[in-house]
Amino acid sequence: MHLSQNALDIKSLNLILMVVISLVFGVSPDWTESSNEACISKMTLRNFRSILSWELKNLSIVPTHYSLSYTVMSRDEDMKTVADCTNIKRSFCDLTGVWEDIHEIYLTLVEGFRGNMLLVNCTRPFMPAMDIVSFEPPEFEIVGFTDHINVLVKFPLVTEEGLQFDLSLIIEEESEGIVKKHEPKIKENTSGDITYVIDKLIPNTNYCVSVYLDSKDQDTVIKSPVKCTFLHPGQESEASESAKIGGIIILFLMAAFLTSTIVILKRIGYICLRNNFPKALNFHNFSVWIPKLPPCEAMDLVEVISINRKKKVWDYSYDDESDSDNETSPRTSGVGYTMHGLTGRPLSQASASSATSVESQSTDPDSSDQPDLPEAHAELPVIPAHSPWQLEHISEPYERRESPLQDPFSEDSSSTEQSGDRIIFNVDLNSVLMRVPNDDDNNDNDSDNSEEDPLMLLSLPEETVDPEDPHTMESSLLLASGEGTQPTCPSSSSECVWPEDAPSDKSDAVESDADFGDGYVMR
């Protein structure tokens, strides 16, 4: 009996001891779920989003689409369908923002359809605060330096619902068997990436990092895959690396900008002006460019010798005319012009070819009524066409005639002025034509000196001259201005051109000119 009592005592003590030990150290209960539901539902937190997923027990007939609805157990309300989880093919649903209070108990209903036929329905009350079995860790990246590691954790926007879970982000650092935990603070408005620096590390050491979310109510955690890095000595810090990269990029951009600016300025010609001139403007091969003056007319000084000749009135007889050396009858042309000649004696025999003779014949009796013209100087240069002037002869000094020059035909001396060795006579250029006498003229003109080259002047009838006509007046003015119409010849080697070869604009101005046929110049 004593033994049996001892046995009972031992058994009771053992039982008490078992209870005490189990209560002190805790006994993990058996959480094996056994239910008659057709599917198994569970909730997970992924990137701070509440995800409800389900799995069918019986896979003989698989539904084609699902619909999810819920209600709050503590309220007398009907089932509410989740809009984003109606007729879906996936077997999970994002309930973030749908269940605002994670401390409430929500009754969920999952219905599986195949076409329009309901195959399966599962109901399960959920309390998000207690029934979320797993908190998936966020994604992260690590960058190792000499003595520290930058951990970049990718965080979504932390919602108010997510904060109700009271989770903590844990970063584990492991090296050579030693594990250290770091807990960055997660604020309510945390969004985007979080960078955490694990400093005071040992160079030349390999470190492995992992992250996970820790909940005070959850005994088990889900850790992320481990990422390791080796801390090389002399590794530049992130700031210096980024500064170098930034500097290189800035330099490259500046060089590209300057190059493009220079190219653009060069193309538009703002700098480095082009020198590829056209061939016509290329004067590089021109060592000396001497402008070539147009050939000018040869000029020479002439001495006008006037020869007074009697005016002979024609008595309409064809008797032999008495020879008169100094008498010349006014010749008339077929068109009614009166010819006057001016005879000039050359000063030197050597320059006989260069000498000119100018015959001035008396004008018509009405010539005195003609307006005074600018005086013709004794040195008026007159150029015969048949004998080219030599400019070197011009340079020879001319001897002044002592005898005055007289108009041989002029009876009215009022139109002429004699002073010394020169004679000034007024010539009405309106009635004047300049002519270079040719050989025929020399042969025909018996009264002329063979050595003389008379210059025939013609006077137009008055009726043919219209003073009011600006065109004729203009033409007469052209002839009067000797300097304007007769260019000088500065060069001795140049040939002078007779004015009758002058530009056609002068001859065009005279519309009333007639062709005299025998070499007379048209005004």
Partner: protein, 205 residues
């Protein structure tokens, strides 16, 4: 010494004594008891969640709002003793309700027994802390109750009892049907969870 047959009972007594002493010493510290209380409560909540993993859709129409007095928690969170007293009342009421459950299947009965054991431990931890605080702060408690004007624990306990009486009456009305029990299990789980949240306040203070 303990290898001899005669010495085995003495060794066992010694081990038990040491265990009881350790337990007794541990029970004297309310902070440590709070840790145990939180752990036991969490286990009970998980057991209740596993028991109510299925809820027939047809039972939804019999669902009822028992009007959990949440305002008690907002008033008692500033007073540690009031929170412990309220939690003690919830634990003992839930224990009485679950003692009336006699349904199959076996796995549910097994879970229910574990829940009762856990609730009993909760009661034990709470009794020890309440007794300890009552002995140390008897005068302070009287003054706080006199000048703060806060409601006494008796008032809060009455509201909690009224809350659990509703569940008792609901079970009787539904004749202890499966749907009624499922609804009551969910409601008790919700109530215990609310007190579980405030046990963190007991640990921080």
């Amino acid at each position: 010494m303990c290898t001899k047959p005669d010495m085995i009972p003495k060794c066992l007594w010694l081990i038990v004594l040491v265990g009881l002493c350790i337990t007794g010493n541990l029970s004297l510290d309310c902070n440590l008891l709070n840790v145990h209380l939180r752990r036991v409560t969490l286990q009970n909540l998980r057991l209740l969640s596993s028991m109510s993993n299925s809820f027939p859709r047809e039972c939804l129409k019999e669902n009822k709002d028992f009007e959990l007095p949440q305002e008690i928690l907002s008033h008692t969170q500033t007073v540690k003793r009031g929170l412990r007293e309220a939690f003690y009342e919830v634990s003992i009421q839930a224990f009485h309700i679950f003692s009336q459950y006699t349904f199959e299947p076996t796995w549910k009965l097994k879970h229910l027994n574990q829940i009762q054991m856990g609730l009993d431990k909760q009661l034990e931890y709470l009794e020890q802390c309440l007794q300890e605080e009552e002995n140390e702060n008897a005068d302070v408690k009287e003054a706080a109750m006199k000048y703060s004007g806060a409601q006494g624990p008796q008032v809060h306990n009455l509201e909690l009892r009224r809350y659990f009486n509703k569940m008792h009456n609901f079970l009787k009305e539904k004749k202890y049907s499966h749907c009624a029990w499922d609804i009551v299990q969910v409601e008790i789980r919700r109530c215990i969870y609310y007190f579980y949240q405030f046990t963190a306040l007991l640990r921080r203070k």
